[in-house]
Symmetry: C2
Subunit: 385 residues, 2 copies
């Protein structure tokens, strides 16, 4: 496999963009990435998106965007893996460049969610779960995560407030990210008093949805002309793994086996271990998922992911900095775009562009994107060289 590098990145603010169309949101991130890479054309386009058929009555999003961006004649395709769609699109782009089929690929994760009423979006998000065996019973996607969180608290004896550091860290970091949806510091008191969504998940355990897009340009690593002051960012590891789609079918609902397997393969490919990761953009759709990701990826023992937050290890100056740009919790979670926001944010860290939350001397970063309640998990390890 040819080694691949990320040459340019772009993103839009996560927000309720009622004044921007789906085209414009995705296009703005794409154009920003092309400008950042100094490229006017690319050979192929890979779009990550989950909800456009349901929210915008629009399919064929690859060509929808290649048309808007002006890439007529080139290949364009959409990749979908629920909330893991962004990183799944990145992998599709990586494979095309790594195989030598194209010399450059634009990857865009994009989602427009806030045009619909809340209950419609809740129903649309539930398509990430098993329609026949989970959703048919009347459970929402938050409800599924609530069952997992409740079980974790029961099994390991943690209280709800023990999860507070994940959300507090995310909100504090987002204060320094102009692209984040929420700019509001929170406290343990606020966390505990927040409105209940699905017991024990309250509003400050859950990430907000939003409209947004993030994009990257990938090219063969040996084609990167060094830019003064900007390191070359290579994709050192990339892997995707799956578990059963319904939580109840898993051997252990508290272990993200797909996170374990995709991280293991990405670590091996990159020749690193968890101890080498300087920054970790994890998928904190709900605070419980932060704990489970940290455990599955080797940063904490089983049942002890919460401890990293309580011990103040997850801040930008801690041992395992996570969600340094706000994470899903405060940057926001435009579902099919999230995986690309994570990658863009790791690149920003490795370039040293994260004023206020910069991890000192960060050279190896990891992004982990989750589709469904742990069903599809994609892990990427990036290196600054």
């Amino acid at each position: 496999m040819r080694k691949v590098a990320i040459l340019g990145i772009g993103q839009t603010k996560v927000d309720e963009h009622w004044d921007l169309s789906l085209r414009e949101i995705g296009g703005n991130a794409a154009f920003a990435a092309m400008q950042d890479a100094g490229m006017e054309k690319v050979d192929a386009l890979f779009v990550g998106n989950m909800l456009s058929p349901l929210v915008s009555a629009q399919n064929q999003l690859g060509t929808f965007f290649s048309d808007w961006i002006g890439l007529w004649g080139r290949e364009a395709v959409k990749v979908e893996a629920a909330c893991g769609s962004g990183a799944a699109a990145l992998r599709a782009g990586l494979m095309a460049v790594a195989a030598g089929d194209v010399e450059s690929a634009l990857v865009v994760g994009v989602e427009k969610m806030t045009d619909k009423a809340g209950r419609d979006v809740t129903a649309a998000l539930a398509t990430a779960a098993d329609a026949d065996y989970e959703v048919e019973q009347g459970i929402s996607f938050v409800g599924i995560n609530a069952l997992v969180m409740r079980r974790y608290m029961h099994e390991y004896g943690w209280k709800h407030e023990d999860f507070a550091p994940f959300s507090i860290n995310a909100h504090a970091n987002a204060m320094h990210n102009p692209f984040a949806r929420l700019h509001e510091k929170i406290t343990v008191e606020k966390f505990e008093k927040s409105s209940m969504v699905a017991t024990p998940i309250n509003l400050l355990d859950a990430s907000p949805i939003g409209d947004g897009a993030a994009a990257a340009i990938i090219v063969p690593a040996d084609k990167v002309v060094s830019v003064p002051g900007r390191p070359r960012i290579t994709v050192a590891g990339s892997a995707s793994a799956t578990d059963s789609i319904a939580v109840h079918s898993r051997k252990d609902p508290l272990f993200l086996s797909a996170a374990y397997q995709s991280a293991k393969r990405a670590y091996e490919m990159a020749g690193v271990g968890p101890e080498d990761i300087d920054v970790f953009e994890l998928h904190d759709a709900f605070s419980i998922m932060s704990a489970l990701s940290l455990e599955a990826c080797g940063f904490a023992e089983r049942g002890q992911g919460v401890r990293l937050g309580l011990d103040n290890e997850i801040s930008p100056t801690g041992r395992v900095p996570v969600c340094t740009r706000g994470g899903l919790k405060a940057r926001g979670h435009p579902v099919g775009a999230t995986g690309m926001y994570q990658v863009v944010e790791v690149v920003q860290q490795l370039r040293g562009e994260c004023n206020g939350t910069q991890v000192d001397g960060a050279t190896i970063g990891m992004a982990q994107n989750i589709g469904g309640s742990g069903a599809t998990i994609l892990t990427h390890v990036l290196k600054a060289e």
Copy 2:
């Protein structure tokens, strides 16, 4: 790029499968392909599907199927390019194997469409068009194709009955294909008297929808152990190209520029030209598309695609055999599955398994899958070696 071969194929009958779930339809084709390849496990799964979010309230179809098939831990992802989703999934699988990321990939094109009322399916199919600039005006997907057909007839002077040979050939060939939805010979009289759908497209110009799945196992070509009496089938050429998503934005609405470009690149990759193609499974969603595909791929001059049918060149014994297993018109068009049906059928021809419609001595075959009204077009050239 590593050379890639198709080791196994599988398919289900295209029909109204009200007794089978989405899982079972896709699973049955997948299991058939694995059995045909003599494999019990594969490294990765790529699923082509267009409508499951809208028809089955189910997203994340990659993992949905890897779970059902028993591929826990492996990579799985869905690829969508409207009616071109099947071939788009094949390309994603090809890239993963060609890049050396995996040693085997299962590609499944699957669609379950008949559980919904006709008007809901019509609305769902319209998501292949431009929601903002085409569908918003009230036009259906058939309506868009009807405008193209009317213009073609006006521009080149053809009558409606001149398109009859495409449908008559497809229906005649489907008589020999047990997986085809329609087993009914038609005549010019029947063709002309058929119910109108959207002038000038009548019921016998249009392909029927259906539930179905088709699958293939792809592996590195050098890993294929020769089976007596069965040639090695390699993917000699593979390319995808796009045009504007809305027909009205195209420079020439009667020229499938994406077909021209993807065929050109696939020919070059395979080192062949149209004169070398022994069998061509084209995307006859509507009879007009057969004419336009034949022209764009170099089998006929502009405006003369219809002539190939009138001159009896398109039957299995003709110069350019098309739709030898019934095509979209009579095998049926389960949209996201169609591209994989075409590939499976070309493999059957190259293996010599098409009793009744076998093209004598076929060694090079082509499949062309179209997403939208010519927006995304994928071309694959297969060779028997």
